[in-house]
């Protein structure tokens, strides 16, 4: 549905005020755990980002379950008293607020308004605890495309060294 505001700002304001917050549908590009997903209908609402639970699963593999928001063995319980901040029903669908979830799991988010793109960084469960002194593992490809993990070299002493062309 589109609203045109050609009949004067005041009337327009009255009309807009009558629209439920979820009426502001946008397209969004989500970058989550290294995966890019186009969302055709998201709700952006006062800095919050609502997507359907179907899109949630597609973009993040997280699912809404009775015990919380889960992916495989990983589950984050949603605070019961604040459930409305995370989940709502509208147009026969369940919607999930990814920004509230990011805040809950201490996940940094970068947003580009012009390109309607959101980048979700490492959640607290994904960030290494360096004070454990355990070397964070990673898996990357070599020039031929063959992947290697740091953990492949366990049992040897390793000099890990970064460099760059620039």
């Amino acid at each position: 549905m589109t609203w045109r505001c050609s009949t004067g700002a005041f009337l327009c304001f009255l009309l807009m005020a009558g629209i439920p917050a979820q009426a502001k549908k946008i397209r969004a590009t989500l970058l989550y755990d290294g995966q890019t997903t186009e969302i055709r209908a998201a709700d952006e609402d006062a800095g919050q980002l609502w997507i359907t639970t179907a899109d949630l699963k597609r973009a993040t593999r997280f699912e809404l379950k009775p015990q919380g928001i889960c992916r495989d063995e990983l589950c984050f319980p949603l605070p019961k008293s604040r459930r409305d901040e995370f989940v709502r029903k509208s147009a026969g669908k369940s919607w999930f607020n990814l920004m509230a979830f990011a805040q809950l799991v201490h996940q940094p988010v970068a947003h580009d308004e012009a390109l309607s793109t959101w980048y979700f960084g490492l959640r607290s469960d994904q960030r290494p605890n360096l004070s454990s002194l355990e070397a964070p593992n990673f898996t990357l490809a070599d020039m031929e495309g063959k992947t290697h993990s740091l953990s492949d070299f366990r049992g040897k002493k390793i000099l890990l060294i970064t460099w760059a062309s620039w």
Binding site: A110, L133, L159, T162
Partner: protein, 213 residues
């Protein structure tokens, strides 16, 4: 090369290129060096993010159990850039040899207390900077350089210690036009190339007989 001398002593080098353009930019360097150790391509600067690294080259020593025994420090394994850095690689390489030979008994292995001091804690700005940088990289790669620039700048503002964020962004742009500066200008501002790289913090008592290899 140091790897040839040490590879039979249960030692590996894992070398990781922090290059947004991946093989396109890092490939020619790798081909020219024809290394026998493992060289990986890290387009998203994941290793710098995980280890809180802010510059290159940065080295970390990891023991047989996967434990960090020396944290992030400037790590030159040859003197290719000595004119710029003013750093001779010999003391670092001698320290490395000492660790390979003596393991935990090496004076270059840091105490757990010092390691914890040196490995930066989670600063929320540094964590957010990584997300801004990640968004900038994505926008750049999807053909939106001008939209990427504000996010690269935000990453630099949030984590001003990171030379990686500056240098990678400059390399993807006309730095003077888009950032009003250049890498060399920034090095001058920081006090010149001889202070740009902090020499490795090697205890003097632990390398009594440093000789060039």
């Amino acid at each position: 090369m140091i790897y040839q001398q040490l590879k039979d002593k249960n030692f590996e080098i894992v070398s990781v290129a922090q290059d947004t353009n991946g093989v396109k930019d890092a490939g020619p360097w790798i081909t020219a060096a024809h290394p026998t150790y493992t060289v990986l391509i890290d387009e998203q600067h994941l290793v710098s993010k995980l280890y809180n690294m802010v510059n290159v080259p940065t080295g970390v020593w990891i023991d047989e159990h996967g434990k960090i025994v020396r944290p992030n420090e400037v790590a030159f394994v040859n003197n290719q850039f000595e004119d710029f850095s003013g750093l001779d690689s010999a003391p670092y390489l001698n320290a490395l040899r000492d660790w390979i030979e003596r393991g935990d008994k090496s004076g270059y292995v840091m105490s757990e207390e010092r390691l914890r001091e040196k490995l930066a804690v989670n600063d929320p700005n540094v964590i957010l900077a990584a997300a801004e940088f990640g968004l900038g990289e994505h926008l750049y790669k999807s053909g939106h350089l001008s939209e990427a620039i504000p996010h690269f700048k935000e990453a630099q503002r949030l984590n001003p210690k990171s030379w990686n964020y500056k240098r990678q962004a400059y390399a993807l742009s006309d730095a003077k036009r888009d950032y009003g500066t250049t890498f060399m200008d920034e090095v001058q501002k920081a006090g010149g190339s001889k202070v740009y790289y902090q020499p490795p913090d090697l205890p003097p008592e632990a390398h009594p007989k440093d000789k060039k290899p």
